[in-house]
Symmetry: C2
Subunit: 445 residues, 2 copies
């Protein structure tokens, strides 16, 4: 495909061109660190918005609406004049030609930063996805929210029995932070916010089951925290099953060995797989598909190509792997930005990337969270306040901070959920659903 209208090549002596792929925490942070660089930056993403993924489970459970945790990328980088945003999907990298290949165009780079993240993965059981969807994007969150809300509508029209129990059963597979947060939030949503809106569903009817193959929840925390989280979830009515591996996901049921658990809603939170960055680059990857990077986050043999965030396998100066967390991605992005700036200006390059561990956070529900930083552990209400403050602070955009704060305060005071929309026109058809007495009679013919 020749570009016949603008055939001029890049002028000699043009400013160097930095391409950043992915506008998540890592990519945006790299872009920001390059704001003063004498270079042209192109930021490519296949979506028009940056997503604050740590709060995605709140969209899936109707506490927040999508636009509260997402901001248009163009609006975020508006004031940075050396950057252009392109909405397109990268499909490959041509290292020899120094080009990033998109679906039907390509773009040359002098420096390349890949911050393309990860997606949930089923490790060889991809056919499970349709029965047990995961949670990585706004569409995932919308789909899960509608599924949960529709399950309640269906239960309301179904007389007591197996069908009704299955409609009110919610299984979450995976006891990491996402699984724990989802289980806690679904328990709250169903037992508090929703139950009083239905005439035939009592708050004790819904069943939330969290299945973890390992010996404890939140394995990245200390065992004492794991125990606290388990007790805390159980107090909220969540059934926690540890050391039980799911052997099969089917339509509305999950197998654990010979045991079958029936549930209309099954959510996968058990694993992620990195983006295809390593494949594009022909670089070494680990078992989760993450590109192995050097101590300055560039790839072996190509000092102008960097891989950061969830799609990178980096090792800290202490020899420990750097975790797939938002703060790590941000620090990596900022580091790479500084490194490229230094190279462009001829300043001495910074030393190897050093990860600052600010500890781990997870929330269980209203008034309850866990925080661990070095030897310091915090649980319960104080941890929850800390968690809320941190998350609001890091939400991009002042406006979102204000609106989310108000929404949380509102939910806290009223136990109400503001974002309970099913946007598709739907009719609730449980298989074998029987009509309710009195209110619903079956047509004669």
């Amino acid at each position: 495909m020749a570009n016949d209208r603008n055939p001029a090549p890049a002028p000699k002596g043009a400013r160097p061109h930095i391409v950043i792929v992915g506008a998540g925490f890592g990519g945006l942070s790299a872009a920001k660190a390059l704001s003063k660089a004498d270079a042209d930056i192109t930021l490519i993403d296949r979506r028009n918005h940056h997503l604050f993924q740590p709060l995605l489970y709140q969209v899936a459970t109707a506490a927040l609406s999508p636009n509260q945790i997402a901001s248009p990328i163009r609006a975020i980088v508006r004031r940075q004049k050396n950057i252009a945003v392109v909405l397109d999907e990268v499909v490959n990298v041509d290292r020899a030609a120094r080009q990033v290949i998109m679906r039907d165009r390509a773009i040359a780079f002098d420096f390349l930063v890949l911050a393309t993240g990860a997606r949930h993965a089923y490790f060889g059981n991809d056919h499970w996805e349709k029965h047990a969807p995961g949670l990585k994007t706004l569409e995932d969150a919308n789909a899960i929210r509608e599924k949960i809300l529709l399950a309640f509508e269906r239960a309301e029209l179904t007389p007591a029995g197996q069908d009704r129990n299955r409609a009110l059963s919610f299984v979450i597979i995976g006891g990491g932070p996402t699984g724990v947060e989802l289980a806690g939030a679904i328990a709250e949503l169903s037992k508090r916010a929703l139950a009083c809106d239905f005439r035939h569903t009592r708050c004790t009817d819904p069943k939330v089951i969290l299945i973890e193959a390992g010996a404890r929840l939140l394995p990245s925390f200390s065992p004492a925290i794991s125990d606290y989280v388990k007790r805390s979830l159980e107090k909220r009515g969540v059934e926690v099953r540890l050391g039980e591996a799911v052997t099969e996901c089917r339509d509305r049921s999950v197998m654990i060995g010979e045991t079958t658990i029936e549930a209309d809603t099954i959510i996968w939170a058990a694993g992620v797989r990195a983006s295809r960055a390593a494949e594009w680059l022909g670089a070494d990857a680990d078992r989760a598909g993450r590109t192995k990077v050097r101590e300055n986050l560039s790839i072996d043999g190509d000092p102008a190509i960097f891989v950061i965030g969830d799609t990178a396998n980096a090792t800290g100066v202490n020899g420990k792997p750097i975790p797939g967390l938002a703060p790590a991605a941000k620090q990596q992005g900022a580091y790479v930005g500084r490194l490229i700036s230094a190279r462009l200006s001829g300043a001495p390059a910074p030393g190897p990337f050093r990860y600052m561990d600010f500890g781990s956070l997870a929330t269980i529900g209203r008034n309850s969270a866990v925080v661990e930083y070095g030897g310091v552990k915090l649980t319960g209400f104080l941890a929850w306040l800390f968690w809320s403050a941190i998350h609001i602070y890091f939400l991009i955009g002042f406006r979102n901070r204000v609106v989310v704060t108000l929404d949380w305060l509102w939910s806290y005071v009223t136990l109400e959920r503001g974002a309970r929309l099913i946007t598709e026109s739907v009719s609730v058809h449980a298989d074998g659903a029987k009509a309710r007495p009195r209110l619903l009679k079956v047509a004669a013919e």
Copy 2:
């Protein structure tokens, strides 16, 4: 289909059963007026939310997000103990058997209130819909919003020329309130909020064209107001074409006789058609499909069946047709609720329905609206303040009022649009789109 688990019939002497179909302004208002009635009420809707339709165009133009103008029906009627909400789609009414038929169940009624609204209509040109979608539901609004935002992304990647002009052309067909509000809002969105986020699109590039077949805009207002609105839109850069009937909608173009207007985004705001209520009832309907009702809003020959709101053709006591507006639907709902209550309690029935005309409102954009009440006309900033206050006041739910007020204040101060999300993963592919110089080079192969 027998109900084998709950075979008991309705007990003798059970309370009368009132079925309301549709939880729009009319249906909700009827339900509320029946809150003290000694009866069981079932409120059926095929969506789980009430939609504040007058602000739908703001969702379509990224000023508000869907959950700000929609509330779950169950939450709205939560405190009214005599009401049950059913999420299902009504497909017919069996008048002889006194039953409302849903997709795979039926429900008996003693009183029936149909408040099933209207949908946009193409008057025999249904194939135009895919080229020129209308705006009646949240999905419609989401689809239009994504279309507009994607057009800008596409234009940014397309060099100057016909393709780029077409991407930045927005045609609205129909000069009623919806068309005027959409044209004003799209002009603002594109010329103010969006233009500064793009590097290659200037605020004078987008073209907004409003086409009206009649001699003036907003025909339900006085001619002086119509003139004001036209001038006001033109000042905002909208091209207003009066007395020009669209003869064909095609893929990315509109025909007016022999003239072709090219535009990637075409929106239909030229007409509505009533729901199928008249068909279900076998009742008389007018040309727009609206059920003809008597002066007490019941249908001919069946005093227990009422039709209200946009799907009813009612005549005021002054002989004038009652307009298809939210206040009319609300008044009709309240009237029918009172009438049924009176019949149930044996009180004297109220006289014929009297429509209280509170005037007409329409907004053109920031700082500009029109209000007409009897001989009183208000235009400009004051009318806009009045319009804002009224709309916030009538938004159902205190919470939405607060959030919408904040959002509007925010947009007003910053000219920012908060709800600019494209939720689908997309790639922008204009036909024949050419790469930009320098930033975008086309791959060698």
